[in-house]
């Protein structure tokens, strides 16, 4: 099961139907199909991130996101563009199909990068309600799935699945419950659990078809322990744009 918060690709399920929604499927096939339909060579968008704390305090940041590759075999650079204090701060994520991603942060004011250790992936992504792990893109093979039933989410009929990380997989979550829309295989909601406590809920809204990929324009992550919420809006989203491979390296991150 993909952690799909920042990477819009994972929510972009193709409508080229290999299977019809009416066909009975098992849980793994559903996720495989979802992954297949969102396969793209690259992606670019500008994101706006709003963090709303329980106290009512709100902060906003903007970034530019670029990715090449897809689903567990990809590289992505996320670079903040506003506000001024964080402009230029970048995050390089290199996803691997068989293990956890490598992540580095670049801070221009200190003029150096730092590695985000695997142990730190459970921590919050720079004060948002996403964790670093939520930025990773994982392959379908890293999880076990189980179909729990059907349910309506935001007016759309969905399959309700449970995904559990395989033993070899390192994750802060013990399991997740995922709602996949039957009509376009787009993710509608993910609830993540630590032990038996639900800790995060991710809602996908304003799902549009962009270049044939169903894409949620707005994602809302709710941290249930902190009672805070982060909303990510995707703008100027493009798929399959020409992006050079060398733009996804530490050297390139330092250069910009």
């Amino acid at each position: 099961m993909s952690r799909v918060a920042i990477n819009g690709a994972a929510v972009c399920f193709s409508l080229s139907l290999a299977l019809t929604p009416s066909q009975a499927q098992d849980a793994r096939q559903i996720v495989e199909q979802a992954q297949k339909r969102t396969q793209t060579r690259s992606q670019r968008y500008q994101g706006t991130l709003q963090v709303m704390q329980r106290s009512g305090k709100t902060s906003e940041k903007r970034w530019r996101y670029e990715r090449i590759g897809s689903h567990g075999n990809s590289k992505a650079v996320l670079r903040f563009t506003a506000p001024a204090e964080v402009k230029g701060v970048a995050l390089l994520v290199v996803n691997h199909p068989d293990r956890a991603s490598d992540q580095w942060m670049w801070a221009p004011a200190i003029n150096r990068e730092r590695r985000i250790a695997l142990q730190d992936r459970a921590t919050r992504f720079f004060g948002t309600d996403f964790s670093f792990e939520d930025l990773e893109e994982r392959d379908v093979d890293q999880f076990d799935y189980r179909l729990l039933g059907d349910e309506i989410v935001e007016g759309a009929a969905c399959w309700r699945l449970e995904s559990r990380p395989k033993q070899s997989k390192t994750s802060q979550y013990s399991r997740s419950v995922v709602w996949v829309r039957k009509d376009d295989y787009a993710f509608a909601r993910i609830e993540s659990y630590v032990q038996e406590q639900m800790v995060r809920r991710l809602d996908y809204t304003q799902i549009e078809n962009i270049q044939g990929v169903p894409t949620a324009r707005v994602m809302g992550m709710h941290d249930l322990r902190r009672q805070s919420r982060t909303v990510l809006k995707l703008e100027k989203l493009e798929y399959n744009v020409a992006l050079p491979d060398e733009a996804f390296t530490l050297q390139a991150m330092r250069r910009e």
Binding site: S55, I110, L118, T123, F126, G127
Partner: protein
């Protein structure tokens, strides 16, 4: 209990002053012990507490002396399956520059992972500890401060706080405020957190961390994780629970603590003689009372128990008072000790509160009571042996005394002979050294009564010459009652011997230290990142060496990197320099090895040169291979030279800087030694250096004189703590004189009454008492100087063998001895003022009542 209430209590009430003096003798000894140790413990406790509170959920800490290590080590630690969280840390202390706020402990951490180890957030989770975590990480001027510090300084979010950095004073922005709790109470609340990578820049640490804090994976034993880390990292790293790191600090202070212990024991020992004196006098005075008790059927055991009971009561009262005074003393001494530790070891601690260890207080109470009981034991035994019939027979007592004196002299002679034997045949054996020392002191103590009589006899003609009547009376008083004065003389002797021993070490160490400074610390200017040479908080980049050399008037710049590393479980100092350059300018005293060869091989990175004290303490010799565990593995180099070097009390190793850079992967610099061209003005050069570098870098340019002054100040501070104890010891001895004279006057009330009745003037009686006091002082000083000469020898030997390994030539401190004589005599005279007035103002009728 009945006897105590009916007899002892009544006696104490009749002799309030003497009882008070006895109690004061114990109180002072205990106060010194408790005060000095509590102050010491408070500083140590503050360090332990800081380590503990900062540690949070940290179970193990990885460090490599105080040298730090490369960032790559972090990934090696994080990759171990036994490790749940591993977070890098840089720790440093900065001056806040705010009046009354002292220093600020800066904790550089990686906030992305560190929250797995330390609790930074508000408990209710409503608010963020950091206003914006991304801004905090993105901006190197970000700081999180404690609520206490913020309130004390009127700081809020976005407030600016100027702090010294490696690049000069920079404005920092408060981007977070921590709620009060465990972590925030570390270092008295003067704690600030910054990003570890920003801290590297701020403190000029390059790409190094000071340590890594580790939390163990669930289900893995701490010992298992520790073993895995030690195996993965090699011997150059220490892997220990946080308490283990704090214990390292204790180890650094070993010499200091040992000195403190020695002085405290000495002070108590002196107090013991005051108590012995008081009880011996009491037994003499109460012989009739004891005789009556025995005649009424009291057993020997009951009489002994009565006096032992009195000593327990006096011990409890004295020790109780001593505890109170000790805590008061600790309060005033703790700041001094903190400053001393900072100067000598570069360790800054903020001991805000006195940490009185219950075990120490209980121990001191026990020692106070035990001292009292031990001191009173012989008088109590003598009291028990009093024959009820003979108790009233005048003259019998003196016969017994004479017999005791002969036996004492024989034992003293035997002990002195064994002591000399230990000295001559003991070699380097510590057992022989300490046995010889103890026996020499014991022999001196046993001989004190005899020597006191001899000296009093010798003094008699001189006293008669000064004042024919009063002098003769005073001398006779001393000669007739040697028991009354011998314990006081012994206490004085010990005090003087202690001053000579401690002061002598201080004096004899001065010249070698000055010689060493002349030979080794001969640059015109020193450039450091901190006010003290021992503090390694700020470092310079190595590139600055060449920049400095281009400054006008500079002939040569030597870059120095010092680091404390662990060698055989002991923290020693590595001094990394460009040996070839140093050899051209420094003419250190070579103890072993060929000067040219040792410098040549060390410059080529093929050998090391060690200090004389390291060789002494670790039993190292020329040609031995020194094995140092470094972050890069075990460094093995032969010892090609042993020189006199007082850089560190635990010893130092001089190696070429290239070797250090290779094995520690660290090319930073602590100190630049700058030699000026002939004729260049040091002040001009200093100004130019400050103008050129001062704006972009935090630096202190110290002249040669300033550095020498600083070192001598540290030496003075070091011995200052013992001087305090010496002063207290002298005070204890003065109390003894007052006690002795008070008894002397009571004893001679009738004699004084007769004198006055036959026309003796009050002035003459006053003079008699004064002369007696000064005579006791003279005898005490004379014996003390003699014992002090022996004590100094042993103190120097102990310093060399067990304390710091430093070898100082024996030199009797004549100046101290000369100064000490008048001080003790003046103190003796001062202590006689009140007893003399008491003698003069006593009722003539009462004095002659018996007649």
């Amino acid at each position: 209990m009945i006897l105590l209430r009916l007899i002892s209590w009544q006696y104490a009430r009749r002799h309030v002053l003497r009882t008070a003096l006895t109690v004061a003798g114990i109180a002072l000894g205990v106060a010194v012990l408790v005060g000095m140790h509590t102050a010491n413990q408070s500083v140590l406790h503050a360090f332990h507490q800081t380590v503990d509170r900062i540690a949070g959920r940290t179970q193990l800490q990885v460090w490599s002396g105080d040298s730090g290590f490369e960032e790559a080590v972090l990934e090696r630690v994080q990759s171990l399956p036994e490790v749940r969280v591993a977070a890098p840390v840089i720790e440093a202390v900065l001056s806040t520059g705010r009046t009354g706020q002292g220093s600020l402990l800066i904790l550089g951490v990686d906030m992305t992972g560190d929250q797995g180890l330390r609790e930074y957030e508000f408990e209710n989770g409503e608010q963020e500890v950091v206003d914006d975590p991304l801004v905090f990480l993105a901006q190197p001027d970000s700081l999180i401060v404690t609520r206490e510090f913020a309130e004390r300084n009127g700081l809020g979010i976005q407030s600016r706080l100027p702090l010294e950095t490696a690049e000069g004073v920079k404005q920092f922005v408060v981007r977070g405020i921590m709620r009060s709790g465990g972590l925030t109470s570390a270092y008295g609340g003067n704690l600030a957190v910054m990003d570890v990578y920003a801290a590297q820049k701020v403190f000029g640490r390059g790409r190094h961390f000071d340590r890594i804090d580790v939390a163990v994976r669930d289900g893995v034993a701490i010992e298992q994780c520790q073993a895995a880390l030690e195996k993965a990292l090699g011997p150059g790293f220490q892997v220990k629970p946080p308490a283990g790191r704090a214990a390292q600090f204790d180890s650094v202070l070993r010499v200091y603590t040992m000195t403190l212990n020695l002085s405290s024991v000495f002070a108590l020992f002196i107090g013991m003689f005051i108590i012995y004196n008081a009880f011996a006098i009491a037994v003499t005075e109460r012989r009739t009372e004891i005789g009556i008790l025995r005649a009424l059927g009291a057993t020997q055991g009951q009489v002994r128990a009565l006096f032992v009971g009195e000593s327990v009561a006096a011990g409890l009262a004295g020790a109780g008072l001593g505890l109170g005074f000790g805590i008061l003393l600790a309060r005033s001494a703790v700041g001094y000790m903190g400053s001393l530790l900072h100067g000598a070891y570069g360790v800054t601690q903020r001991a805000q509160e006195i940490s009185a260890d219950p075990a120490l207080l209980l121990g001191a109470m026990g020692i106070g009571v035990a001292t009292s009981v031990i001191a009173a034991w012989i008088p109590a035994r003598n009291a028990a042996r009093v024959d009820p019939v003979k108790a009233l027979q005048k003259g019998k007592y003196q016969v017994l005394s004479a017999g005791e004196n002969r036996a004492r002299r024989r034992v003293a002679a035997a002990l002195a002979a064994i002591s000399i034997g230990c000295l001559l045949m003991g070699g380097d054996s510590s057992v022989a050294l300490y046995t010889g020392y103890l026996l020499s002191v014991a022999a001196a103590l046993l001989l004190t009564p005899t020597l006191a009589v001899w000296l009093a006899r010798a003094l008699r003609p001189a006293l008669r010459w000064i004042r024919p009547v009063e002098g003769a009376l005073a001398a006779d008083s001393l000669l007739q009652s040697p028991r009354r004065t011998s314990a006081t003389v012994a206490a004085l002797m010990l005090s003087v011997a202690m001053v000579i021993g401690m002061g002598g070490v201080a004096r004899t160490s001065y010249r070698p230290i000055v010689d060493w400074m002349d030979a080794a610390l001969n640059p015109d200017l020193f450039i450091t990142g901190t006010e003290t040479l021992a503090d390694r908080t700020f470092r310079f980049p190595s590139s600055m060496t060449r920049d400095l050399e281009q400054a006008p008037g500079i002939e040569m710049v030597q870059s120095v990197r010092t680091a404390r590393v662990i060698f055989r479980q002991t923290p020693i100092l590595v001094v990394a320099v460009e040996v070839a350059r140093v050899a051209r300018k420094v003419k250190a005293r070579v103890i072993a090895g060929d000067r040219d060869r040792m410098y040549r091989l060390a410059a080529e990175g093929k050998a090391v040169i060690i200090s004389e004290n390291l060789a002494e303490l670790q039993r190292l010799s020329l040609g031995d291979t020194l094995e140092l565990a470094t972050p890069g593995g075990v460094l093995r180099l032969p010892i090609e030279g042993i020189t006199r070097d007082f850089s560190d009390q635990q010893g130092s190793v001089l190696m070429d800087k290239a070797v250090f850079e290779r094995w520690w992967s660290d090319d930073t610099v602590n100190v630049f030694r700058v030699y000026l061209e002939p004729g260049a003005d040091a002040q001009d050069a200093k100004r130019q250096i400050l103008e050129k570098f001062g704006a972009e870098r935090r630096l202190f340019v110290l002249s040669n004189q300033e550095v020498r002054g600083y070192i001598l100040r540290v030496v003075d501070q070091w011995f200052g703590i013992t001087y305090v104890q010496v002063a207290v010891a002298v005070l204890v001895a003065v109390l003894g004189i007052v006690n002795t004279l008070t008894v002397s006057i009571t004893d001679r009330r009738r004699e004084i009454g007769v004198l006055r009745a036959v026309g003796g003037l009050r002035r003459q009686i006053r003079y008699t008492v004064w002369i007696e006091a000064v005579s006791i002082g003279c005898i005490g000083v004379a014996l003390g100087l003699a014992l002090g000469a022996v004590n100094l020898y042993y103190t120097l030997e102990m310093t060399r063998r067990d304390f710091s390994g430093m070898r100082f030539d024996y030199e009797f401190p004549g100046a101290i001895a000369l100064a000490l004589g008048p001080v003790i005599l003046a103190a003796a005279l001062f202590s006689a003022l009140w007893p003399a007035e008491a003698a003069v103002r006593g009722s003539l009728v009462e004095a002659l009542e018996y007649e």
